[in-house]
Symmetry: C2
Subunit: 311 residues, 2 copies
Amino acid sequence: MTLNILFAALPERWGEYEAPLRAALDALGQDYVLSTEMAADQVDYMIYAPNSTVQDFTPYTRLKAVLNIWAGVEAIVGNQTLTVPLTRMVDTEGLTRGMVEWVTGHVLRHHLGMDAHIVNPDHAWAPTVPPLAPERPVAILGFGALGQACARALTGLGFPVTGWSRSAKSIEGLTSDHGPDGLKRVLQNAQIVVLLMPDTPETANTLNAETLSWMPKGAFVINPGRGPLIDDAALIAALDSGQIAHATLDVFRTEPLPKDDPFWAHPKVTVTPHIAADTRPASAAKVLAENIRRSEASEPLLYEVDRTAGY
Amino acid sequence: MTLNILFAALPERWGEYEAPLRAALDALGQDYVLSTEMAADQVDYMIYAPNSTVQDFTPYTRLKAVLNIWAGVEAIVGNQTLTVPLTRMVDTEGLTRGMVEWVTGHVLRHHLGMDAHIVNPDHAWAPTVPPLAPERPVAILGFGALGQACARALTGLGFPVTGWSRSAKSIEGLTSDHGPDGLKRVLQNAQIVVLLMPDTPETANTLNAETLSWMPKGAFVINPGRGPLIDDAALIAALDSGQIAHATLDVFRTEPLPKDDPFWAHPKVTVTPHIAADTRPASAAKVLAENIRRSEASEPLLYEVDRTAGY
């Protein structure tokens, strides 16, 4: 039996998703039709983004499940016309790999002093050789799955990495510290700090005037975690004084970062537009195909939304 | 017995070397004096750079060996007043680690498209997410010790890496190809090419108009190997046509790169000043201390210069 799969998301997404989806669906070994246009009463599965033009699911009489390509489902979970199982996207592979690549890349960028060569209007041939990774201690604040994955990659390159978390964690092959005293020890020793904590009332302003002053002068701050982890004004003061050499920030209290935010124009700040970790079509397509396989096999779906809880 | 060790190199080097040398000498557990000034007839060992003010070794009557901090000894090997053993610096640890860090950093930089965020005068919030490393094939031309070390680091981060060498090599855990046909296969598949071949008549202009045309449009070129590996004019033409998206070059036919060289001003070229791999004080100090230990123990010195061969 041929499965009819409707792709109901913005046209840009179709450009990104079509090839990886076909690859993942081909691997299931079942006949299928995948298209952005299909008679509503012929659709078996809908691959969906909540900003799709499809908002009334009533005509989709044969629909077995709606599979989101977004992590967030708040815009669709209350839709009364949607009665079949709904899944959200949890692209663990894409999120973790992306975070490790972004963090490793920006740690190496600051470690190697790349910016002085990327922007060198005077064409200065100035060979200064940075220390090697074993002489560049890195702290990772927040030592969950993402922090540990980044720590493994950086440790593999020779950096002495210390992970920090609120409560003690013992992770095979990695060094960690914890609690308020541990935070001071870790920051006092770190030339590069990477923030990977969740956004909770306890983690707000973890980097503030006091904690930034604990770091060695000329340290680097990298934030791919959450905007509120940093007291923005304290960071700018520390950059202006030279206490912090440079900050590379991927997340902000308001996103997109407003045009008048002082981070944009600050010569010691690099803004990246919340790209450190994102769902990637190649790995997301595998999750979508796996859920179609599970549905056909009457197995429980991955990441099925609990309509009562709302996520 | 206290060993008297004279540091005879430029004052800048003393600033870099004093602390790591003391750390490495302390580890020998033998009394020593390390200084930049010492009565000539009291000196047991001289840690030396050929541009030192010491050019007449006659007054150094007690000297046991001259230990270079440079790899090149051509400026000193013919000095007739130097009759004690002479060693050159081979800082395998520093050279290899430095190369792996530089190559990994610049591969990640191009892979992640960092430059668009580092230089973003319009303050554009433009979240485009790059593919993940498994979708970004990397070729390493020249698959000796340095090439293999870089391949291992990049493979560890998930990049599909293929090493290429003139004759076949089978390296555990790494993928490689060889010979002229292999070069075409490797380049046709590579979105990033890293050049790590030696400079020989056979390797000159390995990247030229024809071989650059084999690469996928928009590929990246990274050269930390030797300047003559690239036909410079062909590379500039490929950058201008868009065939190559960007080149990051650490080595050149003439160094320092002349002010009027077109690479300096080209918007798609990043020049780094021959820093990818260099002797590093921390690891070089260990080699120097090890040679003092060997000399005192009457063991053969590491990297002793053959005065007849000249190196």
